[in-house]
């Protein structure tokens, strides 16, 4: 099933869905697979698998560190794609790839898209690739029947949101605040107004990322967005409490997102 219809169907049962993120190969191949397994068993709705890059410019210290650790451990791009393929085969939720454009460019953009499609992945997030630079990528994703997931940010104008919506597929990744991954976000009126602008700009589901850590964030998003994205916080949780910590984090986030009074 395509991402958008999967999300919309799943949303009939739950107010806010949960997307988690891992860096493939952090802290090593085996333990990143165990993390995926724990997240899926605890009820995550979809997952973002990051192919590590040496210059992850949009990531903060936690994910940056995980990228470096994965690369130092010898993680390669083809190893990452094999890993993602195994996930898609083993687990019955959609997986999307997150990476920086140079990784796709070096592999060959069309070849990368074809490989993702062949492995049963659903889409990709490439944070350093605005659609103005993305003709080759957008065409390749389209041919491979994959969803290019684009980003909105609080300082994206209404006009640009409409432009981005023309090229986005699957869902839109709404960056909750200025900055990189990993810092806390305040659930303010300003954020609510911004999410209102996002909602008005596209029919696609909205996923909100950067700084969501607990049930409070999930509850805040009810009625404002479709998916909460948890990234750096799950890596921090893994570092402190290992796989059991990941399991209970995901369980508590999923529990907080059941349909109910706001």
């Amino acid at each position: 099933m395509a991402l958008e219809s999967y999300i919309k169907a799943r949303r009939r049962q739950r107010d806010v869905l949960l997307m988690t993120h891992i860096v493939i190969g952090y802290p090593d191949y085996g333990r990143s697979m165990q993390t995926v397994e724990a997240m899926v068993e605890a009820g995550v709705d979809l997952m973002e698998l990051q192919v590590p890059f040496s210059e992850p410019i949009a990531d903060g210290p936690v994910i940056l560190g995980a990228n470096q650790r994965a690369l130092a451990g010898g993680m390669t791009v083809s190893g990452c794609l094999d890993f993602a393929g195994k996930c898609a085969q083993r687990f019955d939720i959609p997986f999307v790839i997150m990476s920086y454009y140079n990784i796709l460019h070096r592999y060959g953009v069309a070849a990368f898209a074809d490989r993702m499609s062949g492995l049963g992945l659903k889409g990709a997030i490439v944070p350093d690739l605005p659609p103005e630079e993305a003709r080759e990528y957008l065409n390749a994703m389209d041919r491979a029947c994959l969803d290019p997931i684009l980003l909105y940010s609080p300082n994206t104008s209404d006009e640009r949101m409409a432009y981005l919506a023309e090229h986005a597929r699957g869902f839109v990744y709404c960056v909750a605040r200025p900055g990189v991954t990993g810092a806390a976000t305040e659930f303010s009126e300003e954020l609510t107004e911004y999410l209102g602008r996002c909602r008005a700009a596209t029919e696609l589901p909205l996923a909100v990322g950067l700084g969501i850590r607990d049930g409070k964030g999930m509850k805040y998003l009810r009625g404002k967005a479709d998916i909460a994205i948890v990234g750096s916080h799950s890596i921090r949780t893994f570092d402190e409490q290992g796989t059991p910590g990941i399991r209970s984090l995901v369980q508590s986030l999923v529990a907080a997102s059941a349909i109910g009074p706001p």
């Binding site: 890059f53 040496s54 210059e55 992850p56 410019i57 949009a58 903060g60 210290p61 940056l64 560190g65 470096q68 690369l71 390669t76 791009v77 920086y100 454009y101 140079n102 990784i103 460019h105 070096r106 592999y107 944070p127 350093d128 690739l129 605005p130 103005e132 630079e133 684009l150 980003l151 909105y152 940010s153 300082n155 994206t156 104008s157 640009r160 981005l164 960056v175 200025p178 900055g179 990189v180 810092a183």
Partner: protein
């Protein structure tokens, strides 16, 4: 972003969505300034009154005599305020920061020259200033850290990745992403997303404009060749841009480090070592592996120790307009020593790459020919590195003595 800033397919603006509006604002401010005739004038006045421009063009008679080929002229960016060409770009961007009404600047630095220049500009223009510097560079360029801090800047030592210039650039971008409304990123070289390559070149072109005028006055002719070292490419773009429309060969000297075969170098264009990639917001040649991961680079000169190169220089190479050569660390140290002894000039280790390449080639030119070498900065900042390269015994004794003094003092304070 309307104009994507492409040069033969190099360049572009690969920026995260959070910065798109900021880049639009910057591009508007730059375009607005460029079309305002009083802007360039106020920039040139500032460079004259504050930085001591025009910098001289010095005939190196002894070196010319020694090699017996073309006469060697040296463009003296070492005499620019803060000791290098970096101030040209920094002061210009500072004027733009004022036009945009921003209150804070961040910058990356490798050798520390750009960091010192930015801290100087920030002090003068009343801006808050944070400088990102790789930990490796903090260690090898400690004197510049001292000056940046004295000038009021906060210096952040970057411990990620290879802990050099590229990592400092990543951190400066991350800071900018978190504070796009108040902050401007004063990128120090002709790299990065559009409009930086064009904008940095616009300010640095003051070098080439002066040099062309001066060489015509002093030598009565245009040079056969112009030499410049190439890290990111800002001093090279600065001097080259004065001669682009002339019949003058443009030669860029990259860091050959321990030799191209050693893998320990920073030559992206010379010797076919680099390959096309997209990183730090632009498409150009990078030193990367088959997966697209950036490789470790090496140079005796911190300012050249960088993975990428200006997209405009990549374009000048592709179009055959410029030639790029690699110079090894030991050739650089020799060229620096010779320049000091023959001319009483102290080029920075970065600049000495351009000197070394010129010294290899001038014998092949006629006596009536002229070449220009861009001395992009002064070398006294490199005293620790240079003293080590020369294995200077007096310096070692001095450092040992200083360390003992500090040790004794701390011991004394500790027991007091």
């Amino acid at each position: 972003m309307r104009n994507r800033g492409y040069y033969s397919g190099f360049g572009g603006a690969y920026v995260p969505e959070i910065l798109v509006a900021t880049f639009d604002e910057l591009e508007d401010a730059f375009e607005d300034a460029k079309s305002d005739p009083s802007f360039r004038k106020s920039y040139e006045q500032l460079m004259a009154s504050c930085c001591g421009r025009a910098t001289p063009l010095t005939l190196a008679e002894n070196l010319s005599e020694r090699f017996g080929g073309a006469r060697i002229y040296i463009k003296r960016e070492d005499l620019n305020h803060t000791g290098s060409h970096k101030a040209n770009n920094v002061m210009g961007q500072g004027l733009l920061v004022k036009r945009m009404g921003k209150t804070r600047v961040v910058a990356e630095t490798g050798a520390g020259q750009h960091g010192v220049a930015t801290a100087t500009m920030a002090a003068r223009m009343g801006l808050e200033c944070t400088i990102y510097m790789g930990e490796v560079d903090v260690i090898r360029q400690r004197p510049n850290v001292f000056w940046m801090e004295r000038l009021g800047a906060t210096v952040v030592s970057v411990r990620d990745g290879s802990r050099t210039l590229k990592d400092a650039i990543n951190e400066a971008f991350r800071d900018w992403m978190a504070h796009p409304d108040t902050t401007h990123y004063v990128l120090g070289t002709a790299c990065g997303p559009h409009p930086f390559p064009e904008m940095v070149t616009y300010f640095q072109s003051i070098i080439g404009q002066e040099a062309r005028r001066q060489v015509l006055n002093q030598a009565g002719k245009l040079p056969k060749r112009v030499y410049a070292c190439v890290g990111g490419g800002s001093n090279a773009m600065g001097i080259f841009s004065g001669f682009l429309d002339d019949d003058v060969e443009l030669v860029g000297a990259e860091a050959g480090g321990r030799g191209l075969g050693s893998g320990r170098h920073a030559s992206r264009l010379a010797g076919g070592q680099g390959s096309i990639g997209i990183a730090q917001g632009y498409r150009s040649y990078f030193l990367q592996d088959g997966d697209g991961q950036m490789r470790e680079t090496h140079s005796v000169a911190a300012g050249l120790d960088y993975i990428g190169v200006s997209p405009i220089l990549a374009h000048l190479q592709r179009s055959g307009r410029a030639r790029f050569e690699a110079v090894t660390d030991s050739e650089v140290v020799d060229a620096m020593a010779l320049t000091m002894r023959c001319e009483g000039l102290v080029p920075a280790l970065e600049s000495a790459h351009g000197f070394a390449q010129a010294f290899k080639e001038v014998r092949g030119l006629a006596k009536e020919d002229v070449v220009i070498v861009n001395q992009s900065g002064r070398g006294d900042k490199d005293i620790f590195t240079v003293a080590e390269a020369f294995e200077d015994p007096g310096w070692r004794a001095f450092i040992r003595h200083k360390a003992e003094q500090y040790g004794a003092r701390e011991l004394h304070q500790g027991t007091a």
